[in-house]
């Protein structure tokens, strides 16, 4: 195993060396950093050309110049490395260290949502194979798969930012829209929950009337201008989640787990007002971290005390419910600052922005408004990335689950008399996740590589933008810096995926050839 890892790492170094040498030379030969100056009519253009040639060592032929760069990189081994300076000033290391967090922030959330949504919709459509729902999911998946992101982005900006902001000027959902949305929601839920029979009509009627009622309340309470949940809202939504999560994870007939989940919700409600005070303390990040720890601890405690003999599943269920309740509490806090956020002069009554990752530059504002600001800036790019990437997850998880469901051990599990829920969640779903994992790891490495187009259309400066501007500015040092980071991560991610696979699937053994 150790030998295998070292061998793979050795190969990694060779790959990186070879590809960086090639990239450096190809780029150096095909670009001219002096282009702008050659066209300059400034009287001291010649002096500037000399200065730039001096800075970038342009008088050294590219293959040799590569080794000047390499010497800087290898310098890190003795603690004095450098990736050089960029064309527009600043060092490459500085630029990359500014860009990586931005890239992660941009794509992390979208990837998580895409994974959760994609896998769950994929599983549902596999379970309802060849149903209306399955066909419409397949259709939707292929549709989104084929949408170009820049176009999706333009549409999202037009409808969800520009027109939605206009709408928020006088937020009143009109009757035709209420009806359309209600019908759509009815179709969606009846599709998920049942096949074409009498139950489908009941589901449809229930779901669409509930949606209609919700929309009506939103209008009536002026909720879009003053969104809030409050203790009562949290109580209702929280216990609804307690029921739902219990039903999915252990089955609603497991009364002690249900009781434990509801207790967790009660504890959360009991601490609602103390938590509101804690939210106002300084050092918000530490407070939030502490609250998160407390949540996990209390979930564990509740699960342990109320879990009976088989504590594991209860603890897991209570933890999920508690985490969801925690997120709802934070949402409630953000809703409280929403009206103030909208009124800021930097926001100017246009809460959903189309560009950038933040815009509060003038007024001194608190932690929660900043938090809300970065969330509003995440809405559109996250949605765009999710829309185009979760289609792949739907197809992949659907296919994998169907394959697993045909395995002998599923038939065995069913013939043992296990409930359908146990068969799906315990036996089938877990085995579906094995091939998914390898995809996820490689996808996460891709995150750092950046989403060039997404970053450009949404005005974020992550790794993708650096890569793009390195090419357009003929900035060799920056290009090589980005390449070094993304290349290393890509190769490492493949290694980690291979190792993970062997850990999760006992049938595969790493380094079996030795």
């Amino acid at each position: 195993m150790v030998g295998y890892i070292f061998r793979r790492l050795g190969v990694l170094i060779i790959i990186l060396f070879g590809s960086s040498f090639l990239l450096y030379n190809l780029t150096a030969i095909s670009s001219d950093p002096l282009e702008g100056l050659r066209l300059s009519r400034d009287e001291n253009a010649k002096f500037q050309i000399a200065a730039l040639t001096r800075t970038l060592s342009l008088d050294v032929p590219p293959p040799l110049r590569y080794f000047i760069w390499l010497r800087g990189v290898l310098g890190y081994l003795v603690g004095q490395g450098t990736l050089g300076a960029t064309r527009e000033g600043g060092t490459v290391v500085e630029q990359i260290s500014q860009a990586i967090p931005v890239s992660i922030r941009l794509v992390f959330m979208a990837t998580i949502i895409a994974i959760i949504l994609g896998i769950s919709l994929g599983i549902i459509s596999a379970l309802r194979q060849y149903s209306r729902f399955d066909y419409s999911m397949t259709f939707a998946a292929f549709l989104m798969f084929s949408l170009p992101i820049f176009w999706v982005a333009v549409l999202l900006k037009q409808f969800l930012a520009i027109e939605f902001n206009d709408f928020l000027g006088d937020p009143n959902i009109s009757l035709p829209w209420m009806i359309i949305i209600s019908i759509f929601s009815g179709i969606f839920w009846s599709g998920i929950l049942s096949l074409l029979d009498r139950r489908a009509y009941i589901t449809f009627a229930l779901a669409s009337s509930l949606t209609f009622f919700t929309l009506f309340l939103i209008n009536y309470l002026n909720w879009l201008e003053r969104p809030r949940l409050g203790v009562i809202g949290l109580a209702i939504i929280g216990s609804a989640f307690a029921f739902a999560i219990t039903a999915i994870s252990v089955g609603i007939e497991d009364r002690k787990t249900l009781r434990a989940s509801l207790t967790a919700v009660l504890v959360g409600l009991a601490f609602y007002y103390p938590v509101q005070v804690a939210f106002k303390w300084p050092n918000h990040n530490w407070v939030l971290l502490g609250l998160a720890l407390l949540t996990f601890l209390s979930a564990n405690l509740i699960g342990r005390v109320m879990g009976g003999e088989d504590k594991g599943p209860t603890i897991r269920t209570v933890t999920i419910v508690s985490v969801i309740f925690g997120i709802l509490t934070i949402l409630d806090r953000l809703m409280q600052v929403w009206p103030r956020y909208v009124r800021l002069s930097d926001v100017n009554y246009r809460p959903i922005p189309t560009i950038g990752d933040g815009r509060i530059w003038l007024e001194p504002v608190g932690y929660w408004i900043r938090f809300l600001d970065s969330l509003t800036h995440l809405v559109l790019p996250t949605l765009a990335l999710t829309l185009i990437s979760f289609a792949g997850y739907i197809r992949f998880s659907r296919g994998t689950l169907l394959e697993v469901l045909n395995q002998d051990y599923i038939r065995t599990a069913r013939s043992k008399g296990l409930t359908e829920r146990t068969v799906i969640m315990r036996h089938a779903f877990r085995n579906t996740m094995i091939p998914m994992t390898t995809i996820l790891v490689v996808d996460f490495a891709g995150i750092i590589g950046g989403a060039i187009i997404t970053e450009r259309v949404f005005g974020w400066r992550g790794m993708g933008t650096l890569f793009n501007s390195a090419i357009t500015n003929m900035d060799l040092n920056l290009l090589m810096g980005v390449f070094l980071v993304t290349g290393t991560l890509a190769v490492l991610a493949n290694l980690i995926a291979d190792l993970l696979y062997s850990v999760m699937d006992p049938r595969v053994r790493v380094g079996a050839g030795n």
Binding site: I236, A240, T354, G356
Partner: protein
């Protein structure tokens, strides 16, 4: 699974339960006091005079945060900034210019501005001073000078005499030159907060008292007059390095942000933008007419994204390289108005006659040399080049007032353009309808290739242009079709390294690209065709003489025009180049914002910030 429905019901009931009586928010904003401008480049440093940091955006921010003795308006006319001070020629022989700072002008930290603050300009532009004070030779290829300034090598460097002298009251500085140089107004000194440099070099991290600032300035003055290299090197390190930041926040040393401009940098977020706020002590420039409290720049590279941001009222001003689509998009925004202003760049076609001056390359193509054949083939190629068609099909959809350009040395809207055009004879030689010119060209080609025709080309012409540029690719296609009718086979190459391998190597017969004016120096348009400065291997003693004349002496506007006309005539006669069109520019502005007048020269948009108002 039914529980999901319960969740939905929960949401509804929750909303009902949480009914809190609340006042509704009026959704109309108070009067706006911020102007948000889109920039495609990110700021890389606060000092745009440092070598490698002279980006447009660095210059724009520098322009807003610092006022000098003059500025260019949108008609390319140099205007005096009388709020800061005055300057005048006090003697023709020797040529002396005197700069006086008005009393009572202050830096943003409250320190009065004096003539001492003008002396740093000399350090930044004089090679002799740099060498004499032991600050390094700016022309040394190995070593960077202590002040890594872009000011060296210009007209000031070549022509100044001795040190600038300070008057007794220290408010007036006199600069002496060895000749009456034409660009004396542009190259003169400007104020720098030298006391902050001294404090920064001493490791201070907070704003100091006015008396401490005066003392620091006195220290600089002493060191300047004594050529104190050791002291100045410390300042040089600060000047060349400390300002090169792309991030400003509350931890930034406030000494770096001192200026005398109307708006000072408050925060810079890498990858996002710049926020500047009004300088409460501003009195070094024209009084602000509007109530703009803050000017912000947002970094947006994508034109569609910028247009949508304008529509979403996130930004107020967007200027970009337009396409027909982007202009239509901007025009569709109900809350914005669109201003069309041509840019300072013009597209042209160049034919090579020899290897580029000063290189080891050779050029032996069809156009090489002065022979009648080479000249006729060049004339034929230029005749058949579909210039009007390019303007009509590519440029007019963007700017319907676009015209075919017929001058090399001035842009079409210049009042001298008409007379220069007449004098050069460009319309006699290269005028007429496309079919007439193609026929003329074919006749010329047939002189040397008798069998040449539209279907049977006489010879090949290789042309190189920039890759990744859709406009140039369409130009190449139009030209190929048109030249074919004249019996010329055009072989276009799009290359990313067109500027090095392409136009210098001699591998190609022709190239098309754009020249951009970056200054109003009278000589620079002529420099394009000077023997040592053109890429075509074209040598013309007459043009060189005119170039030297314009560099050495100031001529009146009309006299300069007459010299330009001679240059244009030489270039037309030699058949080495033709201008095609001036670059169209478009600016989308929030309708409520008044006073935006885009200019041709840097600082393109912000030059008249004091006129802006809502």
């Amino acid at each position: 699974m039914k529980k999901a429905k319960i969740a939905r019901a929960g949401l509804a009931i929750a909303a009902a339960g949480a009914l809190i009586a609340g006042t509704t928010v009026p959704a109309n904003a108070a009067k706006r006091t911020t102007v948000v401008i889109v920039t495609s480049n990110e700021l890389s440093g606060l000092n745009s005079s440092v070598s490698g940091y002279n980006l447009t955006i660095n210059g724009d921010v520098g322009y807003l945060s610092g006022n000098g003795f003059n500025y260019y308006d949108n008609k390319k006319v140099l205007q005096k900034n009388t709020a800061l001070g005055s300057y005048k020629i006090i003697s023709q022989k020797p040529f002396k210019v005197q700069y006086t700072v008005n009393k009572g002008r202050v830096w943003s930290d409250g320190t009065p501005i004096t003539g001492v603050d003008l002396l740093l300009s000399h350090v930044l532009a004089s090679t002799t001073y740099s060498v004499a004070a032991g600050l390094g030779d700016p022309n040394d290829a190995e070593q960077t000078p202590a002040f890594d300034s872009l000011g060296y090598g210009g007209a000031y460097d070549e022509h100044h005499v001795g040190l600038p002298t300070l008057s007794a009251d220290k408010m007036t500085v006199t600069v002496e030159y060895d000749a009456a140089i034409p660009d004396w107004e542009i190259v003169g000194p400007g104020p720098s907060p030298v006391h902050t440099l001294v404090h920064l070099a001493a490791g201070k991290t907070k704003l100091q008292s006015v008396s401490a600032n005066e003392a620091a300035r006195a220290q600089f003055e002493k060191a300047f007059n004594a050529y104190n290299g050791k002291f100045l090197k410390g300042l040089g390190a600060v000047w060349s390095k400390s300002y090169n930041v792309n991030k400003v926040d509350s931890s930034t040393n406030p000494l770096l942000l001192v200026g005398n401009g109307a708006y000072l940098v408050k925060s810079i977020t890498p990858g996002q933008g710049i926020s500047m706020v009004r300088n409460a002590r501003y009195n070094s420039g024209p009084a602000l007419r509007g109530n703009i409290k803050s000017i912000q720049f947002r970094y947006i590279k994508d034109g569609t994204a910028a247009a949508q941001a304008l529509r979403n009222k996130e930004i107020d001003v967007y200027s970009g390289q337009p396409t027909a689509d982007s202009v239509a998009l901007l025009k569709s925004i109900p809350t914005a108005k669109v201003i069309s202003v041509n840019e300072g760049c013009y597209e042209h076609i160049d034919l090579n006659v020899g290897p580029t001056y000063g290189t080891d390359y050779t050029y032996n193509g069809v156009f090489a040399g002065d022979s009648q054949k080479a000249k006729d083939l060049r004339t034929a190629t230029l005749l058949a080049w579909p210039r009007q068609q390019i303007v009509d099909t590519i440029i007019k959809p963007i700017n319907k007032n676009a015209v075919l350009m017929n001058t090399f040395t001035v842009l079409p809207n210049d009042p001298r353009a008409e007379s220069i055009m007449k004098a050069s004879g460009i319309n006699t030689k290269f005028g007429g309808s496309q079919s007439e010119r193609e026929a003329k060209a074919l006749a010329l080609v047939q002189k040397y290739y008798p069998s040449a025709s539209a279907s049977n080309p006489g010879f090949d012409v290789t042309v190189v242009h920039a890759a990744n540029n859709a406009r140039r690719a369409s130009e190449a296609q139009l030209a190929k079709a048109a030249l074919a009718k004249a019996g010329i086979n055009l072989l276009p190459t799009a290359a990313t390294n067109w500027s090095s391998v392409g136009i210098i190597s001699g591998d190609y017969d022709a190239e098309f690209f754009a020249w951009c004016q970056t200054s109003t120096s009278a000589a620079s348009p002529v420099g394009t065709y000077a023997t040592e400065d053109n890429y075509q291997g074209y040598a013309n003693k007459k043009i060189d003489d005119i170039y030297a004349k314009l560099k050495a002496k100031a001529y009146s506007f009309e006299e300069t025009g007459k010299l330009y006309a001679q240059v244009d005539k030489e270039v037309v006669d030699a058949s080495i180049s033709l201008p095609i069109f001036q670059f169209p520019g478009v600016t989308g502005v929030n309708k409520q914002l008044k006073g935006i007048k885009p200019a041709l020269l840097s600082p393109l948009l912000v030059w008249n910030y004091w006129e802006w108002r809502y």
